[in-house]
Symmetry: D2
Subunit: 173 residues, 4 copies
């Protein structure tokens, strides 16, 4: 996304996603911070946790507290699985945020929540924090990454399983 | 472990663990394969999934089918968390094994199960496969890695949580 | 650099440098390709050689053949040296270019040359290709990375050594 | 190599090579340290520079000062070139050794030299330190890695080029 197109996108979208390749595109981060919409900031494929948090600061510094951090896998020597999901990043980020900015770690508006008001399904409510959320698309309407997307029926089934597991962990969706 | 000490260890242990640094120590793998005990084969910190499976073949080739593969984290650029747990490795290994050797993928004796007969707790029964197991030690008796170990009380609490989650996933411990 | 500032920079600079963090900033690459100046394209810290060449294509596709590829080190598990210079990338890139676009592999204008018309020293002539070039700054005038820069005297000494080695390799600067 | 075969090998070889996969095989390192022959210690594919030096200590601690450190490439995300030669390791190791054990940093017997008394060519004398050496084999007689080996004629040509470059750098072979 070119920085000068952020405003047009922000008019139509509920949330602005900054992709992995732009995680250190600082002019873009500043513009996105100014747009007044929640920002989903994907981790770059070789971005350290600390660099990722520093990128989030570019958005926060513009007065926008709604940053959602999205771990999407890092690049490692293991090529057979394309990317390696760095699950450790979730507690590492939460620990870092708890000490640096406690105000931002509450359940529903925290940096790891995903607000999915854009998706027209029953599940389109704030996702549980306390854990990272999955990023999900409708393959019929997806403009990109269709093959990796989830059809509404399968999404519903997934949500049912997630809800059962959440309950077993004494969490609420 | 020196290859020539394998027999002494096998006399006293219920299971032989091959550490990450020895995953490609082929003479050791052969001796361990001959010892007639289940083998817990840790993944090396820079071992690809394929190399890891090939290492397991050294044990299997000696007629020992009880190989337990243990993902323990790989080395990546992210240094703040020491190692990056490669969770993708679990389905990748299972897919590889399902096509290569279906006989070894059954629930309880499969390569990802952990038999913990050595630990004197209620949980000392075959762990669920279908997912990887956690490697757990009693810190009071641990000869190494004490600080990373789990006290029996906390282990019991952990097992209770695991059991609830397993039930939510329609699995049985 | 914001894409919409490319034209201003191009009016004053002899060469446009795209930094490692922007190697896959495609709108920027297109604008830079349009600007009519040679482009120094740094490799990203986790960019594969193939992705790097594909990024160069964005510039080439705008009719700008003067792309200079700059290997600046990749991110690996070895943290003590910050980045790992991937020297293998030089022959790998040259092999790839030789087969894909032979017209661009000639000595002086090839993708690995550095034209340094911006630097007011005796060495400010096309650098030798056939090997990668070093990226050098005057620390007194450097706007960034001053501590990594080279003073003119030391640059002159370096060039003298480089010239001797080049001669020993039957090359000409 | 099994630790208990070290003595047999040491009777016939001029130098003992510990391969990358055994760089942290501590029983082997101790036996090799006892054998009274120079030891070529290859860096593991995911061994940090510090871990590598610590492995060398296992040999040194047995009273054997003739350890040769061999950088052979590390494993990174770049798969197209198999391994990434970490050239930075050479000055990093030398700096570490200069501060830790100055007695071992002299030109000809230092840890980065390669004594090649085993190879029947004109070049079979101590290689230059001050830089790392290349590990070279005769493909006709090589018991492994034949295709990566160098024929005597090409080795002679290589040495001639190396000698010219060394002279240009005011060094002596």
């Amino acid at each position: 996304m070119e920085p000068d197109k952020v405003d047009v996108v922000a008019e139509h979208a509920d949330i602005l996603q900054v992709g992995a390749r732009n995680v250190q595109n600082f002019p873009l981060l500043r513009r996105v911070g100014d747009a007044g919409k929640p920002v989903l900031l994907k981790r770059g494929m070789a971005t350290t946790i600390q660099e990722w948090l520093l990128s989030a600061e570019y958005v926060l510094a513009r007065g926008n507290p709604n940053v959602i951090l999205c771990e999407r896998g890092i690049r490692t020597f293991e090529a057979s699985t394309r990317f390696t999901l760095d699950l450790n990043a979730v507690p590492a980020v939460k620990t870092a945020l708890a000490s640096a900015c406690p105000g931002r770690s509450e359940p529903r508006n925290g940096p790891l929540a995903v607000r999915r008001s854009r998706w027209p399904w029953p599940g389109s409510r704030p996702a549980p924090t306390g854990s990272s959320s999955r990023c999900i698309r409708d393959p019929e309407e997806a403009l990109s990454d269709g093959p990796q997307s989830l059809k509404p029926e399968r999404f519903a089934a997934l949500m049912q399983r997630v809800r059962k597991i959440a309950r077993a962990m004494d969490r609420d969706l």
